[in-house]
């Protein structure tokens, strides 16, 4: 089955980025295809490589990059990113900046679209 995922909350803010990550991991382990993860609103903060948590803490950005390395399209909303000072210079590996058209496409291509976090 094809799954699309949206993250609307920043890392370390509450739990939605963690929930989305655990969900994506479990779905991939079950053999599902992730057509993409769309980062919207404060969710775009999941994409900055400036994130540098202490060593004993989980690195949420790095975890997403690892998902990206497995071929999952990690799309960051350009309008939300620009508002928060996120551009290609600070983008972590695996992410790309694009627009809401990509979100629409993901929603069309996915059999299931799951949203994590509040707007």
């Amino acid at each position: 089955m094809k799954f699309g995922v949206m993250v609307q909350e920043g890392p370390y803010q509450h739990e939605s980025s963690d929930s989305a990550y655990q969900f994506v991991k479990a779905a991939m382990e079950k053999g599902h295809e992730i057509v993409g993860v769309f980062f919207y609103h404060d969710g775009v903060i999941n994409s900055t490589k400036l994130t540098d948590p202490q060593q004993d803490d989980r690195n949420i950005v790095k975890r997403w990059s690892e998902i990206g390395e497995k071929g999952v399209d990690l799309v960051v909303c350009i309008a939300a990113a620009k508002r928060r000072g996120i551009n290609d210079d600070v983008l972590a590996p695996g992410f790309r900046i694009s627009g809401l058209g990509q979100l629409t496409e993901m929603a069309i291509n996915a059999d299931r679209f799951v949203t994590f976090g509040a707007s």
Binding site: H14, E15, S19, F23, K25, A26, K30, R112, T115, F116
Partner: protein, 97 residues
């Protein structure tokens, strides 16, 4: 349709909104702080039991564990992330925040 609720029913009305609009018989999955609603022996237990007359209520095991909620209201089904994925396989989801 699967209804995802992630806010604690003690601080948010999202579960109320969900129950108000969801089609009876639908599954509701409590995740993140919403799992506090699954705790037995609380002020909300009766309300949850009345919700369970109309809906199948699930709670995410990992989030229950993270919050020390071990005494879950009888009838609420615990699922792990694999179970979460399986619920999504069966139903299109919607999120209440």
């Amino acid at each position: 349709m699967l209804h995802l609720v992630n806010r604690s029913p003690y601080v948010s009305t999202s579960l109320d909104s969900c129950v108000k609009f969801a089609k009876k018989g639908s599954p509701i999955l409590l995740i993140e702080d919403a799992v506090y609603g699954a705790m037995a022996g609380t002020a909300l237990e009766k309300k949850m039991e009345s919700i369970m007359k109309d809906f199948t209520v699930y709670a995410l095991k990992e989030d229950l564990l993270a919050r020390g909620v071990t005494n879950v209201i009888a009838g609420i089904k615990e699922v792990d992330y694999t179970g979460f994925v399986e619920l999504i396989e069966e139903h299109k989801p919607t999120t209440w925040t």
